[in-house]
Point group: C2
Amino acid sequence: MTQISASSENPAERRSKTRIQKENETRILLAALEVFSENGFRGATLDRIAATAKMSKPNLLYYFKNKEEIHVALLTDLLDVWLAPLREISPHGEPADEIGSYIRRKLESSRQFPRESRLFANEMLAGAPHIGDFLQSELKQLVDEKAAIFQGWIDEGRLAPCDPRHLLFAIWSTTQHYADFSVQVRHVLGLQPGDVSYYEEAVSMLETLFLGRLVPPASTD
Amino acid sequence: MTQISASSENPAERRSKTRIQKENETRILLAALEVFSENGFRGATLDRIAATAKMSKPNLLYYFKNKEEIHVALLTDLLDVWLAPLREISPHGEPADEIGSYIRRKLESSRQFPRESRLFANEMLAGAPHIGDFLQSELKQLVDEKAAIFQGWIDEGRLAPCDPRHLLFAIWSTTQHYADFSVQVRHVLGLQPGDVSYYEEAVSMLETLFLGRLVPPASTD
DNA sequence: AAGAGATTTGACCAAACGGTAAAAATGATA
DNA sequence: TATCATTTTTACCGTTTGGTCAAATCTCTT
Protein backbone atom coordinates (compact mmCIF):
# COMPACT_ATOMS: atom_id res chain seq x y z
CA MET A 1 0.00 0.00 0.00
CA THR A 2 1.13 3.50 -0.77
CA GLN A 3 1.59 5.86 2.10
CA ILE A 4 -0.91 8.66 2.20
CA SER A 5 0.89 11.97 2.18
CA ALA A 6 -0.25 15.56 2.17
CA SER A 7 -2.16 16.54 -0.93
CA SER A 8 0.15 19.21 -2.30
CA GLU A 9 2.76 18.47 -4.91
CA ASN A 10 5.45 20.50 -3.22
CA PRO A 11 7.67 18.87 -0.60
CA ALA A 12 7.54 22.09 1.37
CA GLU A 13 3.89 21.43 2.08
CA ARG A 14 4.00 17.87 3.32
CA ARG A 15 2.97 17.03 6.85
CA SER A 16 6.34 17.12 8.49
CA LYS A 17 9.58 18.41 7.09
CA THR A 18 12.72 16.36 6.78
CA ARG A 19 15.99 17.60 8.19
CA ILE A 20 17.31 18.00 4.66
CA GLN A 21 14.17 19.79 3.63
CA LYS A 22 14.45 22.33 6.39
CA GLU A 23 18.12 22.91 5.72
CA ASN A 24 17.69 23.35 2.00
CA GLU A 25 14.68 25.61 2.23
CA THR A 26 16.62 27.84 4.58
CA ARG A 27 19.60 27.88 2.23
CA ILE A 28 17.40 28.73 -0.72
CA LEU A 29 15.53 31.51 1.03
CA LEU A 30 18.77 33.00 2.27
CA ALA A 31 20.26 32.94 -1.20
CA ALA A 32 17.07 34.29 -2.73
CA LEU A 33 17.00 37.12 -0.21
CA GLU A 34 20.50 38.05 -1.27
CA VAL A 35 19.65 38.06 -4.97
CA PHE A 36 16.13 39.52 -4.88
CA SER A 37 17.11 42.32 -2.51
CA GLU A 38 19.87 43.44 -4.83
CA ASN A 39 18.17 43.13 -8.20
CA GLY A 40 14.43 43.02 -7.58
CA PHE A 41 12.09 40.33 -8.79
CA ARG A 42 12.61 40.78 -12.51
CA GLY A 43 16.34 41.33 -12.16
CA ALA A 44 16.88 38.17 -10.16
CA THR A 45 17.48 34.83 -11.88
CA LEU A 46 16.99 31.28 -10.69
CA ASP A 47 20.50 30.46 -11.87
CA ARG A 48 21.99 33.10 -9.61
CA ILE A 49 19.87 32.06 -6.67
CA ALA A 50 20.82 28.43 -7.22
CA ALA A 51 24.49 29.33 -7.54
CA THR A 52 24.37 31.42 -4.38
CA ALA A 53 22.67 28.57 -2.55
CA LYS A 54 25.30 26.20 -3.96
CA MET A 55 22.63 24.00 -5.42
CA SER A 56 21.57 22.93 -8.89
CA LYS A 57 18.62 24.75 -10.41
CA PRO A 58 16.42 21.66 -10.73
CA ASN A 59 17.14 20.84 -7.12
CA LEU A 60 16.08 24.32 -6.13
CA LEU A 61 12.87 23.85 -8.10
CA TYR A 62 12.28 20.63 -6.21
CA TYR A 63 11.64 22.74 -3.11
CA PHE A 64 9.87 25.73 -4.66
CA LYS A 65 7.77 25.20 -7.71
CA ASN A 66 8.78 28.47 -9.39
CA LYS A 67 10.50 31.82 -9.04
CA GLU A 68 7.43 33.59 -7.82
CA GLU A 69 6.83 31.12 -5.02
CA ILE A 70 10.25 31.87 -3.58
CA HIS A 71 9.58 35.56 -3.78
CA VAL A 72 6.20 35.24 -2.11
CA ALA A 73 7.70 33.13 0.66
CA LEU A 74 10.27 35.84 1.32
CA LEU A 75 7.72 38.65 1.28
CA THR A 76 5.40 36.78 3.60
CA ASP A 77 8.15 36.35 6.16
CA LEU A 78 9.14 39.95 5.63
CA LEU A 79 5.80 41.56 6.35
CA ASP A 80 5.78 40.34 9.94
CA VAL A 81 9.23 41.78 10.47
CA TRP A 82 8.13 45.01 8.90
CA LEU A 83 4.99 45.41 11.02
CA ALA A 84 6.40 44.24 14.34
CA PRO A 85 7.98 47.55 15.44
CA LEU A 86 4.82 49.47 14.56
CA ARG A 87 2.54 47.08 16.45
CA GLU A 88 4.36 47.82 19.68
CA ILE A 89 3.38 51.48 19.78
CA SER A 90 1.11 51.89 22.79
CA PRO A 91 -1.43 54.63 23.52
CA HIS A 92 -0.57 54.40 27.22
CA GLY A 93 3.04 55.52 27.11
CA GLU A 94 4.51 58.98 26.89
CA PRO A 95 4.64 60.26 23.29
CA ALA A 96 8.39 60.88 23.52
CA ASP A 97 9.00 57.38 24.85
CA GLU A 98 6.76 55.69 22.32
CA ILE A 99 8.12 57.56 19.32
CA GLY A 100 11.67 57.31 20.55
CA SER A 101 11.54 53.59 21.09
CA TYR A 102 9.73 53.09 17.78
CA ILE A 103 12.59 54.88 16.02
CA ARG A 104 15.12 52.74 17.82
CA ARG A 105 13.25 49.56 16.94
CA LYS A 106 13.06 50.56 13.29
CA LEU A 107 16.75 51.49 13.19
CA GLU A 108 17.66 48.23 14.84
CA SER A 109 15.55 46.42 12.29
CA SER A 110 17.38 48.23 9.50
CA ARG A 111 20.72 47.23 10.95
CA GLN A 112 19.77 43.62 11.53
CA PHE A 113 17.80 43.07 8.34
CA PRO A 114 19.16 45.35 5.64
CA ARG A 115 18.46 42.86 2.88
CA GLU A 116 14.86 42.45 3.99
CA SER A 117 14.54 46.22 3.92
CA ARG A 118 15.94 46.36 0.40
CA LEU A 119 13.64 43.55 -0.68
CA PHE A 120 10.73 45.64 0.53
CA ALA A 121 12.10 48.75 -1.17
CA ASN A 122 12.49 46.89 -4.45
CA GLU A 123 8.90 45.74 -4.25
CA MET A 124 7.78 49.34 -3.67
CA LEU A 125 9.82 50.70 -6.57
CA ALA A 126 8.29 48.09 -8.85
CA GLY A 127 4.85 49.34 -7.85
CA ALA A 128 4.13 46.73 -5.17
CA PRO A 129 2.76 44.13 -7.61
CA HIS A 130 2.87 41.36 -5.01
CA ILE A 131 1.89 43.17 -1.81
CA GLY A 132 -0.53 45.81 -3.00
CA ASP A 133 -3.32 44.08 -1.12
CA PHE A 134 -1.31 44.01 2.08
CA LEU A 135 -0.64 47.75 1.83
CA GLN A 136 -4.29 48.58 1.26
CA SER A 137 -5.72 46.36 3.95
CA GLU A 138 -3.49 45.16 6.76
CA LEU A 139 -1.00 48.01 6.73
CA LYS A 140 -3.56 50.75 6.17
CA GLN A 141 -5.63 49.43 9.05
CA LEU A 142 -2.69 49.36 11.42
CA VAL A 143 -1.58 52.80 10.33
CA ASP A 144 -5.04 54.21 10.89
CA GLU A 145 -5.05 52.67 14.34
CA LYS A 146 -1.67 54.09 15.31
CA ALA A 147 -2.40 57.43 13.67
CA ALA A 148 -5.43 57.71 15.94
CA ILE A 149 -3.13 57.32 18.94
CA PHE A 150 -0.91 60.10 17.66
CA GLN A 151 -3.95 62.27 16.98
CA GLY A 152 -5.08 61.72 20.54
CA TRP A 153 -1.75 62.97 21.80
CA ILE A 154 -1.96 65.98 19.51
CA ASP A 155 -5.43 66.81 20.79
CA GLU A 156 -4.11 66.62 24.34
CA GLY A 157 -1.24 68.94 23.45
CA ARG A 158 1.34 66.27 24.13
CA LEU A 159 2.54 66.15 20.52
CA ALA A 160 3.11 68.97 18.06
CA PRO A 161 0.27 69.37 15.57
CA CYS A 162 1.04 67.42 12.41
CA ASP A 163 -0.44 64.78 10.16
CA PRO A 164 0.17 61.53 12.07
CA ARG A 165 0.42 59.40 8.95
CA HIS A 166 3.04 61.66 7.47
CA LEU A 167 4.90 61.50 10.74
CA LEU A 168 5.00 57.75 10.29
CA PHE A 169 6.23 58.20 6.70
CA ALA A 170 9.05 60.36 8.03
CA ILE A 171 10.04 57.72 10.56
CA TRP A 172 9.90 54.93 8.01
CA SER A 173 11.94 56.79 5.43
CA THR A 174 14.68 58.04 7.71
CA THR A 175 15.22 54.70 9.40
CA GLN A 176 14.97 52.51 6.31
CA HIS A 177 17.26 54.85 4.42
CA TYR A 178 20.22 53.49 6.38
CA ALA A 179 19.55 50.02 5.00
CA ASP A 180 18.30 50.85 1.52
CA PHE A 181 20.85 53.55 0.71
CA SER A 182 23.69 52.15 2.79
CA VAL A 183 26.04 52.35 -0.19
CA GLN A 184 25.46 56.06 -0.47
CA VAL A 185 25.75 56.56 3.28
CA ARG A 186 29.05 54.73 3.37
CA HIS A 187 30.47 56.50 0.35
CA VAL A 188 29.53 59.93 1.68
CA LEU A 189 30.92 59.17 5.11
CA GLY A 190 34.02 57.59 3.64
CA LEU A 191 33.50 54.19 5.26
CA GLN A 192 34.48 50.69 4.17
CA PRO A 193 31.93 48.37 2.51
CA GLY A 194 31.11 46.33 5.59
CA ASP A 195 31.19 49.18 8.09
CA VAL A 196 27.87 49.93 9.77
CA SER A 197 29.24 52.05 12.58
CA TYR A 198 27.10 54.98 11.45
CA TYR A 199 24.05 53.52 13.16
CA GLU A 200 25.01 55.11 16.45
CA GLU A 201 25.19 58.52 14.87
CA ALA A 202 21.88 57.77 13.19
CA VAL A 203 20.12 57.08 16.50
CA SER A 204 21.42 60.33 17.85
CA MET A 205 20.40 62.32 14.79
CA LEU A 206 16.91 60.92 14.61
CA GLU A 207 16.24 61.37 18.30
CA THR A 208 17.32 64.98 17.98
CA LEU A 209 15.14 65.40 14.95
CA PHE A 210 12.00 63.72 16.17
CA LEU A 211 12.21 64.33 19.89
CA GLY A 212 14.34 67.43 20.13
CA ARG A 213 11.35 69.62 20.08
CA LEU A 214 8.72 67.86 18.02
CA VAL A 215 7.39 66.60 21.30
CA PRO A 216 6.73 69.47 23.71
CA PRO A 217 8.32 69.36 27.17
CA ALA A 218 6.43 66.81 29.26
CA SER A 219 3.73 68.26 31.46
CA THR A 220 3.16 65.90 34.36
CA ASP A 221 -0.27 66.85 35.62
CA MET B 1 30.15 47.06 -14.92
CA THR B 2 31.81 50.14 -16.31
CA GLN B 3 31.55 53.55 -14.82
CA ILE B 4 30.21 56.51 -16.71
CA SER B 5 32.32 57.55 -19.66
CA ALA B 6 31.75 58.88 -23.13
CA SER B 7 32.41 56.67 -26.10
CA SER B 8 32.26 57.44 -29.77
CA GLU B 9 30.63 55.17 -32.30
CA ASN B 10 26.98 55.94 -32.62
CA PRO B 11 24.97 58.66 -34.38
CA ALA B 12 24.18 60.28 -31.07
CA GLU B 13 27.67 61.65 -30.92
CA ARG B 14 28.17 63.00 -34.41
CA ARG B 15 28.93 66.66 -34.90
CA SER B 16 25.38 67.95 -35.23
CA LYS B 17 22.17 66.10 -34.52
CA THR B 18 19.37 65.64 -36.97
CA ARG B 19 15.81 66.54 -36.07
CA ILE B 20 14.93 62.87 -36.20
CA GLN B 21 17.92 62.02 -34.07
CA LYS B 22 16.96 64.44 -31.34
CA GLU B 23 13.37 63.28 -31.39
CA ASN B 24 14.22 59.61 -31.23
CA GLU B 25 16.84 59.94 -28.54
CA THR B 26 14.34 61.80 -26.43
CA ARG B 27 11.72 59.14 -27.03
CA ILE B 28 14.17 56.38 -26.14
CA LEU B 29 15.41 58.04 -22.98
CA LEU B 30 11.87 58.72 -21.87
CA ALA B 31 10.87 55.12 -22.45
CA ALA B 32 14.03 53.84 -20.80
CA LEU B 33 13.41 56.03 -17.78
CA GLU B 34 9.99 54.48 -17.45
CA VAL B 35 11.30 50.92 -17.65
CA PHE B 36 14.57 51.26 -15.72
CA SER B 37 12.95 53.20 -12.88
CA GLU B 38 10.40 50.47 -12.37
CA ASN B 39 12.55 47.38 -12.73
CA GLY B 40 16.14 48.45 -12.26
CA PHE B 41 18.95 47.82 -14.71
CA ARG B 42 18.87 44.04 -14.68
CA GLY B 43 15.10 43.86 -14.61
CA ALA B 44 14.68 46.11 -17.61
CA THR B 45 14.72 44.71 -21.14
CA LEU B 46 15.51 46.33 -24.46
CA ASP B 47 12.34 44.83 -25.87
CA ARG B 48 10.22 46.63 -23.28
CA ILE B 49 12.06 49.88 -23.76
CA ALA B 50 11.67 49.60 -27.53
CA ALA B 51 7.99 48.76 -27.19
CA THR B 52 7.43 51.68 -24.81
CA ALA B 53 9.24 53.99 -27.23
CA LYS B 54 7.14 52.55 -30.08
CA MET B 55 10.24 51.64 -31.96
CA SER B 56 11.87 48.44 -33.20
CA LYS B 57 14.72 47.09 -31.12
CA PRO B 58 17.32 47.35 -33.90
CA ASN B 59 16.27 50.94 -34.44
CA LEU B 60 16.74 51.65 -30.77
CA LEU B 61 20.20 50.14 -30.96
CA TYR B 62 20.95 52.41 -33.89
CA TYR B 63 20.89 55.31 -31.44
CA PHE B 64 22.46 53.67 -28.39
CA LYS B 65 24.98 50.93 -28.88
CA ASN B 66 23.78 48.83 -25.96
CA LYS B 67 21.61 48.62 -22.87
CA GLU B 68 24.27 50.00 -20.60
CA GLU B 69 24.80 53.11 -22.70
CA ILE B 70 21.14 54.04 -22.33
CA HIS B 71 21.36 53.53 -18.60
CA VAL B 72 24.49 55.61 -18.31
CA ALA B 73 22.93 58.40 -20.38
CA LEU B 74 19.99 58.48 -17.99
CA LEU B 75 22.14 58.45 -14.88
CA THR B 76 24.35 61.22 -16.21
CA ASP B 77 21.36 63.46 -16.79
CA LEU B 78 19.99 62.46 -13.42
CA LEU B 79 22.99 63.41 -11.33
CA ASP B 80 22.67 67.08 -12.22
CA VAL B 81 19.03 67.04 -11.23
CA TRP B 82 19.94 65.29 -8.02
CA LEU B 83 22.67 67.72 -7.02
CA ALA B 84 20.98 70.96 -8.07
CA PRO B 85 18.87 71.49 -4.93
CA LEU B 86 21.87 70.81 -2.69
CA ARG B 87 24.14 73.21 -4.57
CA GLU B 88 21.84 76.09 -3.79
CA ILE B 89 22.33 75.95 -0.04
CA SER B 90 24.11 79.15 0.94
CA PRO B 91 26.17 79.91 4.03
CA HIS B 92 24.87 83.46 4.01
CA GLY B 93 21.19 82.82 4.61
CA GLU B 94 19.36 82.04 7.83
CA PRO B 95 19.55 78.32 8.76
CA ALA B 96 15.77 78.05 8.87
CA ASP B 97 15.40 79.64 5.45
CA GLU B 98 18.15 77.61 3.87
CA ILE B 99 17.01 74.28 5.27
CA GLY B 100 13.37 75.07 4.65
CA SER B 101 13.88 76.02 1.04
CA TYR B 102 16.16 73.01 0.50
CA ILE B 103 13.39 70.74 1.73
CA ARG B 104 10.90 72.44 -0.57
CA ARG B 105 13.25 72.13 -3.52
CA LYS B 106 13.81 68.43 -2.83
CA LEU B 107 10.09 67.79 -2.42
CA GLU B 108 9.37 69.67 -5.62
CA SER B 109 12.01 67.57 -7.33
CA SER B 110 10.34 64.40 -6.03
CA ARG B 111 7.00 65.54 -7.35
CA GLN B 112 8.30 66.62 -10.73
CA PHE B 113 10.74 63.78 -11.30
CA PRO B 114 9.49 60.70 -9.45
CA ARG B 115 10.86 58.32 -12.06
CA GLU B 116 14.28 59.89 -11.89
CA SER B 117 14.15 59.46 -8.13
CA ARG B 118 13.23 55.80 -8.48
CA LEU B 119 15.98 55.31 -11.05
CA PHE B 120 18.43 56.63 -8.48
CA ALA B 121 16.93 54.47 -5.75
CA ASN B 122 17.20 51.37 -7.92
CA GLU B 123 20.85 52.12 -8.57
CA MET B 124 21.44 52.45 -4.81
CA LEU B 125 19.66 49.20 -4.01
CA ALA B 126 21.79 47.41 -6.57
CA GLY B 127 24.89 48.68 -4.79
CA ALA B 128 25.55 51.69 -7.03
CA PRO B 129 27.54 49.73 -9.63
CA HIS B 130 27.44 52.60 -12.13
CA ILE B 131 27.75 55.68 -9.95
CA GLY B 132 29.99 54.52 -7.12
CA ASP B 133 32.69 56.92 -8.27
CA PHE B 134 30.27 59.82 -8.34
CA LEU B 135 29.18 59.11 -4.77
CA GLN B 136 32.73 58.89 -3.50
CA SER B 137 34.06 61.97 -5.24
CA GLU B 138 31.63 64.59 -6.49
CA LEU B 139 28.82 63.95 -4.04
CA LYS B 140 31.08 63.44 -1.03
CA GLN B 141 32.89 66.66 -1.80
CA LEU B 142 29.69 68.66 -2.07
CA VAL B 143 28.32 67.08 1.09
CA ASP B 144 31.48 67.90 2.99
CA GLU B 145 31.21 71.48 1.79
CA LYS B 146 27.59 71.88 2.82
CA ALA B 147 28.12 70.00 6.07
CA ALA B 148 30.75 72.58 6.94
CA ILE B 149 28.13 75.30 6.51
CA PHE B 150 25.78 73.47 8.86
CA GLN B 151 28.60 72.95 11.34
CA GLY B 152 29.28 76.66 11.25
CA TRP B 153 25.68 77.36 12.16
CA ILE B 154 25.85 74.82 14.95
CA ASP B 155 28.98 76.41 16.34
CA GLU B 156 27.23 79.76 16.29
CA GLY B 157 24.25 78.32 18.13
CA ARG B 158 21.95 78.94 15.18
CA LEU B 159 21.28 75.24 14.59
CA ALA B 160 20.70 72.46 17.10
CA PRO B 161 23.78 70.28 17.63
CA CYS B 162 23.69 67.27 15.34
CA ASP B 163 25.77 65.51 12.73
CA PRO B 164 25.30 67.67 9.61
CA ARG B 165 25.76 64.80 7.21
CA HIS B 166 23.08 62.76 8.94
CA LEU B 167 20.83 65.79 8.83
CA LEU B 168 21.27 65.71 5.07
CA PHE B 169 20.48 61.97 5.03
CA ALA B 170 17.26 62.71 6.91
CA ILE B 171 16.27 65.38 4.40
CA TRP B 172 17.10 63.16 1.44
CA SER B 173 15.22 60.17 2.76
CA THR B 174 12.06 61.97 3.84
CA THR B 175 11.71 63.91 0.61
CA GLN B 176 12.65 61.12 -1.78
CA HIS B 177 10.36 58.74 0.05
CA TYR B 178 7.34 60.45 -1.52
CA ALA B 179 8.62 59.53 -4.98
CA ASP B 180 10.22 56.16 -4.28
CA PHE B 181 7.48 54.76 -2.04
CA SER B 182 4.58 56.62 -3.62
CA VAL B 183 2.66 53.36 -4.00
CA GLN B 184 2.80 52.78 -0.28
CA VAL B 185 1.95 56.38 0.50
CA ARG B 186 -1.09 56.27 -1.74
CA HIS B 187 -2.30 52.92 -0.46
CA VAL B 188 -1.96 53.99 3.16
CA LEU B 189 -3.69 57.30 2.53
CA GLY B 190 -6.36 55.61 0.41
CA LEU B 191 -5.66 57.64 -2.71
CA GLN B 192 -6.05 56.81 -6.39
CA PRO B 193 -3.03 55.72 -8.48
CA GLY B 194 -2.39 59.09 -10.12
CA ASP B 195 -3.14 61.25 -7.09
CA VAL B 196 -0.19 63.23 -5.76
CA SER B 197 -2.17 65.62 -3.60
CA TYR B 198 -0.28 64.45 -0.54
CA TYR B 199 2.67 66.66 -1.39
CA GLU B 200 1.09 69.64 0.33
CA GLU B 201 0.72 67.69 3.54
CA ALA B 202 4.28 66.53 3.09
CA VAL B 203 5.66 70.07 2.93
CA SER B 204 3.78 70.90 6.08
CA MET B 205 4.97 67.79 7.93
CA LEU B 206 8.59 68.18 6.99
CA GLU B 207 8.69 71.87 7.87
CA THR B 208 7.22 71.05 11.25
CA LEU B 209 9.74 68.27 11.68
CA PHE B 210 12.88 70.03 10.55
CA LEU B 211 12.09 73.63 11.45
CA GLY B 212 9.56 73.27 14.21
CA ARG B 213 12.22 73.34 16.81
CA LEU B 214 15.31 71.81 15.24
CA VAL B 215 16.34 75.35 14.45
CA PRO B 216 16.29 77.52 17.56
CA PRO B 217 14.24 80.73 17.53
CA ALA B 218 16.09 83.32 15.43
CA SER B 219 18.21 85.75 17.37
CA THR B 220 18.47 88.95 15.37
CA ASP B 221 21.60 90.60 16.69
C1' DA C 1 14.33 64.08 -60.01
C1' DA C 2 18.52 62.01 -58.48
C1' DG C 3 21.95 60.83 -55.43
C1' DA C 4 23.91 60.49 -50.85
C1' DG C 5 23.37 59.89 -46.39
C1' DA C 6 20.30 58.90 -42.64
C1' DT C 7 16.95 55.88 -40.82
C1' DT C 8 14.24 51.69 -40.34
C1' DT C 9 13.22 46.93 -40.70
C1' DG C 10 13.14 41.76 -40.87
C1' DA C 11 15.75 37.89 -40.34
C1' DC C 12 18.75 36.08 -37.56
C1' DC C 13 22.18 34.47 -33.64
C1' DA C 14 24.20 32.76 -29.29
C1' DA C 15 23.51 32.96 -24.62
C1' DA C 16 20.59 33.24 -20.69
C1' DC C 17 16.23 32.41 -19.00
C1' DG C 18 12.35 29.72 -16.40
C1' DG C 19 11.11 25.32 -16.13
C1' DT C 20 10.47 19.86 -17.03
C1' DA C 21 11.29 14.72 -17.25
C1' DA C 22 13.31 10.84 -15.90
C1' DA C 23 16.89 8.42 -14.18
C1' DA C 24 20.42 8.04 -10.70
C1' DA C 25 21.97 8.54 -6.04
C1' DT C 26 21.14 8.96 -1.35
C1' DG C 27 18.79 8.46 3.08
C1' DA C 28 15.70 6.32 6.38
C1' DT C 29 13.63 2.31 8.18
C1' DA C 30 12.32 -2.26 9.09
C1' DT D 1 20.58 -5.65 4.08
C1' DA D 2 16.55 -5.01 1.35
C1' DT D 3 13.17 -1.67 0.45
C1' DC D 4 11.02 2.41 -0.45
C1' DA D 5 10.68 7.32 -0.28
C1' DT D 6 13.44 11.28 -0.62
C1' DT D 7 16.81 13.90 -2.79
C1' DT D 8 19.93 15.12 -6.57
C1' DT D 9 21.59 15.22 -11.15
C1' DT D 10 21.79 15.05 -16.21
C1' DA D 11 19.89 16.18 -20.22
C1' DC D 12 16.84 18.78 -22.20
C1' DC D 13 12.84 22.23 -23.97
C1' DG D 14 10.73 26.48 -25.55
C1' DT D 15 11.10 31.36 -24.80
C1' DT D 16 13.31 35.61 -23.88
C1' DT D 17 17.21 38.29 -24.00
C1' DG D 18 20.98 41.44 -25.77
C1' DG D 19 22.74 42.27 -29.94
C1' DT D 20 24.15 41.93 -35.28
C1' DC D 21 23.66 42.32 -40.22
C1' DA D 22 22.37 43.53 -44.67
C1' DA D 23 18.84 45.06 -47.20
C1' DA D 24 15.15 48.29 -47.71
C1' DT D 25 13.18 52.74 -47.03
C1' DC D 26 13.07 57.37 -46.06
C1' DT D 27 14.84 62.38 -45.95
C1' DC D 28 17.36 65.99 -47.32
C1' DT D 29 19.95 68.54 -50.52
C1' DT D 30 21.17 69.80 -55.11
